[in-house]
Symmetry: C2
Subunit: 308 residues, 2 copies
Amino acid sequence: MHMKQVTVHCPGTVANLVCGFDILGMALRAPYDVMEVKLLDEPKVIIHNRDAFNLPTDPEKNVAGVVFLAVMEKIGGNTGFEVTIEKHIKPGSGLGSSAASAAGAAVAANHLLGNIFSTDELVQFAMWGEKLASGVKHADNITPCIMGGVTLIRSIHPLDIVPLAAPDLFVTVVHPQIEVRTSDARQILKEKVLLKDAIRQWGNIAGLVAGFTRNDHELIGRSLEDVIIEPVRSILIPGFDEVKLKCKEAGALGGGISGSGPSVFMLSKEEDTAKKVEAVMQSVYTRIGIEYNTYVTTINKNGAAVIG
Amino acid sequence: MHMKQVTVHCPGTVANLVCGFDILGMALRAPYDVMEVKLLDEPKVIIHNRDAFNLPTDPEKNVAGVVFLAVMEKIGGNTGFEVTIEKHIKPGSGLGSSAASAAGAAVAANHLLGNIFSTDELVQFAMWGEKLASGVKHADNITPCIMGGVTLIRSIHPLDIVPLAAPDLFVTVVHPQIEVRTSDARQILKEKVLLKDAIRQWGNIAGLVAGFTRNDHELIGRSLEDVIIEPVRSILIPGFDEVKLKCKEAGALGGGISGSGPSVFMLSKEEDTAKKVEAVMQSVYTRIGIEYNTYVTTINKNGAAVIG
């Protein structure tokens, strides 16, 4: 028997934010997934896909499924969930596709259960989805997906979430249709880094956080520099250096790899600039001969939205 | 012939601010140096000491002297400076004694010359003093000494100074009278650090900057953690671990090594707590048998002050 139903829009997210590797994330207005979730009065999870990605429907192997199971384990009793997932954020794009499913499941379940969980608890539930997807319980996509805006994960153990002010900026994203596996992107990172590079990085992070807080676009631009992760990971993304250089020439404040790639994002002050940046991205990948999607969007300040 | 004279109060400063190694600094209300500076109409620098520290009076070997010389080289002509330095910030305390002299010289010269230089230029002049004192042109004591409050050096090359909001907190400082040479404190640092530690550190820096910006004392407290520098440098400071633990038990939000030590600072919300923290510091160093000075003060939000 279907008792209650809810529709949730789960936004794509940009994790890492250049110098903010593993700690910063940002929600986007586009793309987003749509999830319809019904409360069941028996303890099972039923998953339907309304898209062409052919993701597993076995709850134990589905990112949303394991989150529903974690919620059910927590509350006990005879509650279950039936979900229909309409995914628009491509899996493997680096735009938080798995986080959207995981966060959406947590938000939908919480809404159907009468908002009994805190944000921290929702993040904890949703991290089970990330663990399934990538082997690591990280929260830097989940948190902005749930809360919106720009979020800081100061610490994972214990979980310490700090919502930051989100600047009024336009975001241009290109998703070149190549595969970069999160696990590969993590494996090529060196275990140790030079202290002098780490110092440069934390200067930039401090500048970026200050820039977000005071909506100082120039400071944000100057701080969007990554001397540790990007030099290694950008090798996996054909055209990266050229895209970045030409986007900044076209007026972008700066940007870099979204998550572990292959998507690349750029921030701009004006919509016109953001569209010029899109044209630059399109021309580079057209010439290289790699299929791509682009988005011109803004920062989603509300996070996963319960629609009905 | 003496044309004009000015008196400048140059505050002590806490550089590094726990997780903010090499990028963050904070000015104190106490202790501070007093510098009386006269404009001369011949291109020479005359230095008098009105204290017991026996610092060099040869301008080429004096921290304030080399700053005056740098200013003179910039402006040319027949201008010189005569300075009397009354130092209260003990050299080698880790409280920015050399920075106070360097910054004070730059600020005094600028005032006497009709405020012709920008803050960035003053920092650039004053860095010659730091280069003389420690061999490195660093700005993380100079900048808060000149500007007051909490300052971020996002980058040294090019110089990018970001003043941050200064929280309304009390600062307790203990200076155990042992010698820790800045060069030694730098040499024992490892050239490489674990990426996972760097990530933890930049999460804390982001939290600290956000905490300062919104005057969020709890967030500041949680972010005052240094997993990279303090574990190495604290070995040079007898009693450090005990002082830190007991100060936090007494109610301090947190704290750590001031600059490269040996002074240790703690932040507290209330003056009462700051005084309890002082008593803890005193009892530890009395028991260990090391001479000490303590200060209970607040953050100096104005920086080097021109008095007359």
